[in-house]
């Protein structure tokens, strides 16, 4: 008898909760944001801060009542950086979880792999990966927030032109980011009157790159450019120092995290790289429009998780571009959200000021990249 009573009580409570829940849901549909990120695996240092950023801000948005009353429901999967998993998970997001918007695809490979699926399923997708191929040519449902590898190459070559450098040695890893950066460098060099005199490669798991650098040393290169991320660029920097090579060294935005400086130690000093303004937020002039956004993101992230990186910033940008689009659309209809994302104008994000259009699904100009030099183990904003 007693058991029955208890059971009745539990059922009653459950049904109350159920009613309450239903009531809430009836008020406004939830906005389902799906995400597939390389949280583990070789690109985890990109995916991990991205996930943390999304989780942190979605929690905050929901605590403040959601987007126009739409609570956000967040579903995310870890692709481990594998394109096949990315495809499976995007299918899962669309078919099983039935999400309204997808943010993710940490690496270019992951993002490129799913483009056909989102195009077919007609789900707005904001990629967090670098390759320019993601948005060029423009695909109706695909957007992205990070600066492209093409912009990085352009920024580096612009700086070289200023310093009068004409002969450049390339050294790149075998990942998608590295290879795509290399391809952009090779393609853009003639435009800037630059000759690529060496094109060396390494495996991202390699322990030593002195061989490739010895070959570079024997050329008449005036500067070295390394596209890569993870530990490899730090080994490259150390090996350059070991071999006593005194040439100017350029890294890509792939190393724009304090980890690189920590690993490379004093070998990092003097290295220049293009990067988002986030890592030098406090050095920006007070009237810089981005400064407020950057400092606020930085403060929030660091209070919760530790040192900030620009990669998490891309997720911030993608999330708030979506949020703004939903607010403007006033509905969670996929097609309307997509239209509004495309109309994003003057959005001040961590990566720069976004002005999207039907022909530009990124919306950043070259100014969004800052040229930075590492000085005494710290970032120094050059321009």
């Amino acid at each position: 008898m007693r058991f029955c009573k208890n059971l009745f009580a539990i059922l009653a409570i459950l049904s109350l909760i159920g009613l309450f829940g239903n009531h809430q849901a009836m008020a406004k549909d939830t906005l389902k944001i799906g995400s597939f990120l390389a949280v583990t695996g070789p690109a985890s240092f990109l995916g991990d801060p991205e996930l943390k950023t999304l989780q942190m801000y979605i929690e905050e948005i929901n605590a403040n009542g959601g987007v126009d009353g739409h609570k956000i429901e967040f579903v995310h999967y870890d692709t481990k950086g594998k394109a096949k998993e990315a495809k499976n998970f995007v299918n899962r997001l669309i078919k099983k979880d039935k999400v309204d918007v997808i943010i993710g695809g940490t690496t270019s490979g992951n993002s490129l792999a799913v483009i056909d699926i989102v195009q077919k399923a007609e789900v707005p997708f904001i990629s967090l990966a670098g390759s320019i191929k993601i948005v060029e040519p423009v695909k109706k449902w695909v957007f992205k927030t990070p600066h492209t590898d093409k912009m990085a190459a352009e920024k580096i070559f612009t700086d070289m032109k200023k310093r009068g450098i004409k002969k450049v040695a390339l050294i790149t890893g075998n990942g998608g980011f590295d290879k795509s950066g290399r391809a952009q460098c090779l393609a853009l060099a003639p435009e800037y009157g630059i000759e690529i005199v060496a094109d060396e490669k390494y495996d991202n798991a390699d322990t030593d790159m002195t061989t490739q650098l010895t070959k570079i040393r024997a050329t008449d290169a005036q500067a070295i450019v390394n596209f890569g991320f993870g530990k490899a660029p730090a080994i490259v920097a150390k090996n350059i120092k070991q071999l006593g090579i005194k040439l100017p060294v350029y890294e890509s935005h792939g190393v724009a995290s304090k980890k690189f400086i920590e690993l490379a130690g004093d070998a990092a000093n003097g290295i220049r790289l293009p990067a988002a303004a986030l890592i030098v937020a406090d050095q920006l002039p007070a009237d810089d429009p981005q400064k407020k956004v950057l400092l606020s993101y930085k403060k929030k992230f660091e209070e919760k998780y530790g040192p900030v990186s620009t990669f998490g910033g891309h997720a911030y940008d993608a999330l708030f571009i979506t949020v703004d689009a939903v607010k403007r659309a006033g509905t969670i209809d996929r097609a309307k959200i997509r239209d509004e994302i495309e109309k994003t104008k003057g959005f001040v994000g961590t990566g720069g000021i976004f002005n999207m259009s039907p022909t530009d699904h990124l919306g950043l100009s070259l100014d969004a990249f800052k040229m930075i030099e590492i000085e005494n183990g710290n970032w120094k904003l050059l321009y």
């Binding site: 096949k84 499976n88 483009i115």
Partner: protein, 322 residues
């Protein structure tokens, strides 16, 4: 028909599932991955389980099939079926040339050589950008069509891949129960004795190597068209290891062992997703626990247990199912 009763039951399950759950994520999305993995595991089992020749490079042939289809259809505009056959012919030729020197090796040295083969092919996929698209791979493969009907939905793919998978399982079962299969088992059991029975062991090994590579190549082509995308990491050394794990996990030398092993290793990550950061840990733990307690593999262990149970019941004079 007793010989194929297991196969008939298995086919029935595979064919009924999509009728019951036509739009289920696990059936029509995960199912496709499982089918491809089953074909691969079954083909590897022919080489490893039947003939006793370990291969840590099976993903290479899978990849070569996939890339052949991708490159030939996209860059040279070939009809997908012709591309698939061309790729298979290429894989057959390559595996035949390699089979003799490689299969002279035994045990760990054979493992090393096949591993090397797998890694070399993978490096080629990554580095030969102009041809293979580098790490980003090649996307936008045309869809297959059968007699004018395009295979463009998950459900259609389910039927295609399911039939191919069943065909490969049937092939494998047939081989096990034939002159060729016995020759393979003989090579596995004792190469010298096999030779004395007049079996050209080098040829037998080479033939099954080529056959197994061919199956993997076809699986690769199907995979490429189904995903309409190829990229190198699907064909890495890790995937080769995963395939070996499937075969051993299910039970070396048993076709249905390979099927079960492939099923478990494909479904496990999907199920373990909910554990997030714990996924890797749990996956490793499950693998260890199965192998520790059922070292002969899940399916084989289960089969032996059932057989022992039946034998015991019959001994006790109770009528067992016969």
């Amino acid at each position: 028909m007793k010989r194929l009763s297991g196969f008939v039951l298995f086919s029935a399950i595979c064919l009924i599932l999509p009728l019951l759950f036509p739009d289920n994520y696990y059936v029509t999305v995960v199912g496709l991955t499982i089918f491809i993995n089953i074909i691969l595991a079954v083909s590897l089992n022919l080489l490893m389980g039947y003939a006793g020749q370990i291969s840590l490079g099976h993903a290479a042939f899978f990849g070569l099939g996939a890339y052949s289809s991708a490159i030939l259809t996209i860059k040279y505009g070939l009809n997908p079926w012709i591309a698939m056959l061309t790729g298979a012919a290429f894989v057959a030729g390559l595996s035949y040339v390699l089979s003799r020197p490689i299969l002279k090796l035994k045990g760990h040295y054979l493992a090393m050589a096949t591993l090397g083969l797998g890694i070399i092919v993978h490096i080629f996929f990554v580095q030969a950008d102009e041809l293979t698209g580098g790490p980003d791979g090649i996307s936008g493969l045309p869809s297959l069509s059968i007699m004018g009907m395009a295979i463009d939905s998950d459900l259609k793919w389910y039927w295609v891949l399911c039939s191919c998978m069943l065909l490969s399982v049937l092939f494998s079962l047939n081989i096990a129960d034939s002159r060729a299969g016995r020759a393979l088992s003989a090579v596995h059991g004792s190469e010298i004795a096999a030779q004395m029975m007049g079996i050209d062991t080098a040829m037998v090994k080479s033939h099954i190597f080529v056959f197994s590579a061919l199956m993997a190549s076809f699986a690769g082509s199907l995979f490429a068209h189904q995903q309409d995308f190829v990229s190198p990491e699907s064909f890495s050394f890790f995937f080769s290891i995963e395939l070996v794990t499937m075969v051993v996990l299910g039970g070396l030398g048993s076709t249905f062992g390979a099927v079960i092993g492939a099923f478990i290793l494909s479904i496990l990550p999907e199920v373990l997703i909910v554990f997030e950061d714990f996924e890797v840990l749990i996956f490793g733990a499950i693998l260890m626990v199965i192998m520790i307690f059922l070292p002969e593999g899940l399916f084989v262990a289960l089969k032996n247990k059932v057989a022992a149970f039946v034998a015991k019941r019959q001994e006790e004079g109770v009528d067992g199912p016969s």
